[in-house]
Structure formats: C-alpha cells, structure tokens
C-alpha cells in the first residue's frame, strides 16, 4: 500500500520501518506481558473463573437475558424516537416561523443535555407521579431518556435527509400541482428515508451503548447490569468484563458494518437521486451542534 504522505520505501526507509515495527512490537509485548502477569498474580486467569462462559448456565441466567433487555430497550427507543424525530425534523423545515422556532428550541435543548440526566429525571418523574411498578420503572425511564435524546438527534438526521435531496424534486412536485403536505409525504419523505437508512442504523449503535448507562445508574437489568450479578456469583470480575465488552463489540461492529454496506449499496444504486446520509452525519449531529456548523467540517466523529 502506498500513500501520498510518504514515498515508496527505499532500502534505508525499509530498514527503518522494520526497526520501528520491532520496537513497537516489543512495546506491545511488554504491555501484554504486564497485563498477563498482573492477571496471573491476582488469580484472574484461573480456569474456574472462565469456565462459566463455556457452560450454558452463565449465558441463560445472566448474559442472554441481559442482552435481550439491552436490545429490547434499544429497539423500542428507536421505534418511538423515529416518528417523533420525523415530526420535529419536518417541523423545523416548516414555512411558518411559529412552527419552525419552537421545534428548533426543543430539538437543540434535548441535544444539549446528557442522556443520563434525562434518564434520572424520567425515573424520578415516574416514581412520583405515575403508578408504574418499581420493577418496570427503570425500563420506562431508560426508554424515555433514550427517546427524548435520540428523537432530537433523528430530527436533525431527517432534516439533513430532506435537505440532501436535489431541489428539482420539490420543484417538479410543485409543477405538477402537489400541495406542500403532498410533496412532503409522497415525494420528499420516501426518498429521504432511503437516504437516511445508513444514518439510522449508525444511530442504533449509539442507543445500544447508552442503554448501559441505565443499567449502572438506575438499575435496569441490561447486559452491563447482569454482568455485575454474574461476577458476584462467580467472583470473576475481569473475565466477565472481557466477555461483556466482546459482546458489545461484536454487536456494534455488526451494526456499523451493516450501515456502511447499506451506504455503499445506496451510493451505487442507479435508482433514486443518489443522496445518502452516512455515518459521518450521525457523528456530526450527535454532539449538539449548537454552533450550526453544518457542512463546515469533513464529517466529524462524535459519540
């Protein structure tokens, strides 16, 4: 592989690269050795601590129910947030200032607040003013927090999706005499949804990661929460963290890969206008872009 940043290595550069590789490899080995040694010292490598993960019990009692709760909260949050986000996204594009303004305030407000605060607040609100049972309350609170935050993020995604369509689409719709509502529902929205699909899948990764917050802070029985019961039972803190982290990595990596596959497919496809919102857009939007720096950057990388 060659890059514009450096020449194709000659004999001296090759030698230097090999040397650097060796030094870097030695450093990595040293780190790995230190981790291995410390884990050995503290008895975290004992086979008994890892054994639960090859048996069905640990999975069926702890990890799988936890994972299913994670997925349940994430999926429900996405399903509720999507129409809500579409509503606010379209409202922000309204021709009327009194619709546009309040929608913008709501969206920017919820994007500026950490999702944890929304969860804590929702949890307390349900505890005080509703008769949701205390077992169900964490689930309600987690989903509410996720919905409020992600609806406002998705509102921006929807808005960007509609704005990414060529002007000709609206103009053609006007020319054949469609009203504003008809233009939106039968011309713009269907195309925007297709363009948004990769961005929506990427947003799922953010939602899945945020469910872990509900597990630790308000006791929702998701994957990270079930890890602590598991570790209390088998006394295997480090192994359980490694397994749980691996589950998250596999899950989110699959989602990310699916999103980029979708994006590439949409870009290639001959049908449609070729407008696509990729994962970059999600990164841009997620970080409460209060400064309105749309399009100035080269695709950000937020959380």
């Amino acid at each position: 592989m060659s890059s514009v940043l450096y020449d194709t290595p000659g004999p001296r550069a090759k030698r230097r690269n090999v040397l650097l590789s060796v030094v870097f490899f030695a450093l990595l080995l040293l780190l790995a050795w230190w981790i291995w040694q410390t884990m050995d010292d503290k008895g975290q490598l004992a086979g008994a601590l890892w054994k639960p993960f090859v048996e069905a019990d640990a999975w069926t009692t702890y990890l799988l129910p936890g994972l299913s709760n994670t997925l349940k909260a994430a999926a429900l949050a996405m399903v509720i947030a999507l129409p809500l986000g579409a509503f606010f996204g379209i409202a922000r594009l309204s021709d009327h200032r009194w619709v546009r303004g309040p929608a913008a305030v709501v969206v920017e407000f919820f994007r500026a607040i950490p999702v944890l605060l929304l969860m804590l607040f929702a949890n307390e609100l349900y505890a005080r003013y509703t008769d949701v049972t205390s077992e169900d309350r964490p689930f309600y609170a987690v989903v509410t927090g996720l919905v409020l935050y992600n609806a406002s993020v998705l509102a921006e995604v929807v808005r960007a999706g509609i704005l990414s369509l060529p002007r000709g689409q609206t103009e053609a719709a006007k020319a054949i005499g469609l009203r504003k509502g008809q233009t939106m529902t039968s011309i713009l929205l269907p195309q925007a949804v297709t363009a948004m699909l990769p961005a929506i899948v990427s947003q799922l990764v953010v939602i899945v990661k945020d469910t872990a917050l509900g597990g630790v802070m308000i006791g929702y029985g998701e994957l990270l929460n079930s890890r602590s019961t598991l570790a209390a039972n088998y006394a295997n803190v480090v192994p359980s963290f490694i397994v749980v982290a691996a589950i998250y990595i596999v899950l989110n990596f699959a989602l990310t890969t699916f999103a980029s596959w979708l994006e590439a497919r949409l870009r290639r496809s001959k049908r449609g206008t070729g407008a696509v919102l990729g994962a970059d857009k999600v990164d841009d939007v997620n970080a409460a872009e209060v400064g309105g720096t749309y399009g100035t950057g080269a695709g950000g990388g937020a959380i």
Partner: protein, 222 residues
C-alpha cells in the same frame, strides 16, 4: 423559590464537570493525534494497532470502560495512579483516564478525516522538496488538517462534556451525581431537572458558538 438549592454545592459539582472535561479534552487531543499519526504512518504494525484500537474502543459503551477502570483496573490490577488512599482523587483520575481512552478514538477519526481533506498536491509538494514522513505530517499536513477539523472536534468536545456525566457511575462528585442525590431527596423534581439542564446548556452552548465561529474563521479557503 430556589431554597431547595441550599445545602447542595451545585456550582462545585459543575466545576468538577468542567475539570473532567478540560483534563480529558487535553489528554484525548494528544492521544488522538498520536493515534491518527499511527493510522497514516508507513509502519504497517502501527497502522494495524491504530485501526484495531479505534474499532474496539468505539464499539464499547463508555459506561463499561469507566466501571471497569474502577472495578477492574483499580481494584484488581492495583492501578492507583498515585492516589492510593484518596478515594475522590482516585475516582477523578480513573474517570479522566477512561474518558481520554474513549474520546481519543473519536478525535483520531476526526483528525484522519481532516487529513483526507488536505489536497494531494500539498503532500506531493512536501515530498518533492525532500521532506520525510514526519516532516510532511508535522509541517504541512497536520496544520492544515487541524484547521479544517475544528468543527468536528468541537462536536467531540461537546459530546465529551456530556459524557463526563458517566463518571457518576463510579461516584465522582460531578453534576449527574449531585442531581441524582438531589432529585431523590428534594420535592422540586422539575426545578432540579431544569437547573441541571440549564447548567449543561450553559456549558455546551458557548463551546459550540465560539468553536463554530473559529472553525469558519480558520478554515483553509480553497
């Protein structure tokens, strides 16, 4: 009307949030830049390490990293970061370490996308006058890349500000920890929620505005 604030150090909690943000921002900018340099370097092993690091860290929830830093790194590996007995200091340092490790992956990706916006001719011209890889990167490419990624980096900074609340999971006395405490013990749920929400709007709004303005001002006009 605001008597529910009495007995609580709201400003102190937000000051802790600011401190977490600033320390983590500086740390992740340095570590993220190093990672980005690794990802574009001529040494394949470093490229591989950079890619693996970013892909692994980005896909783990920050909560998992922060909780592990306390239960795993401190309790089992015995990493105390020079704060063996002071529980508060230890929590703070572990939180900063986790936030740096996590945020650096996003900083790295921003900077790498910035490097991609620098026109090919710049790097080619640098090579033509005989600069080597590190000179090309330090003197020609990164200065231009940084100017074009102020916008995305501002987003990362805002996200980082919000992510410091996750430090509540290991009991660092920052805004979310205090809010949890207050909201459970005081009657004015709505008012408490509003105060803390406002606090975060005050923290993130100027960051976005100032850095957005800077991004426009400093962007390389092409």
């Amino acid at each position: 009307m605001f008597d529910f604030l009495e007995g609580y150090d709201v400003l102190g909690a937000f000051w802790m949030t600011v401190k977490l943000t600033v320390f983590s921002a500086v740390g992740s900018l340095i570590w993220g830049t190093l990672l980005a340099a690794m990802r574009v370097s001529p040494v394949p092993l470093m490229r591989g390490f950079g890619t693996a690091y970013v892909n692994i860290v980005r896909n783990i929830p920050l909560t998992v990293i922060i909780v592990f830093s306390s239960l795993g790194l401190a309790d089992i590996f015995g990493v105390t970061l020079g704060a063996k007995d002071d529980f508060d200091v230890l929590g703070f340092r572990l939180a900063v370490l986790s936030l740096v490790a996590y945020t650096a992956a996003f900083v790295c990706e921003s900077i790498r996308s910035g490097i991609n916006t620098v026109p090919l001719g710049q790097a080619e011209a640098a090579r033509a006058i005989g600069l080597n890889f590190s000179q090309t990167l330090r003197l020609i490419v990164l200065p231009q890349a940084f100017r074009s990624v102020i916008g995305p980096l501002a987003n990362v900074l805002i996200a980082l500000t919000k992510n410091t609340t996750v430090a509540a999971a290991i009991g660092v006395a920052e805004a979310a920890t205090l809010m949890k405490d207050m909201i459970e013990n005081e009657a004015q749920t709505l008012a408490i929620g509003a105060v803390f929400a406002l606090g975060f709007v005050i923290l993130t709004l100027p960051t976005g505005l100032i850095l957005g303005w800077l991004a426009k001002r400093l962007a390389v006009k092409r």
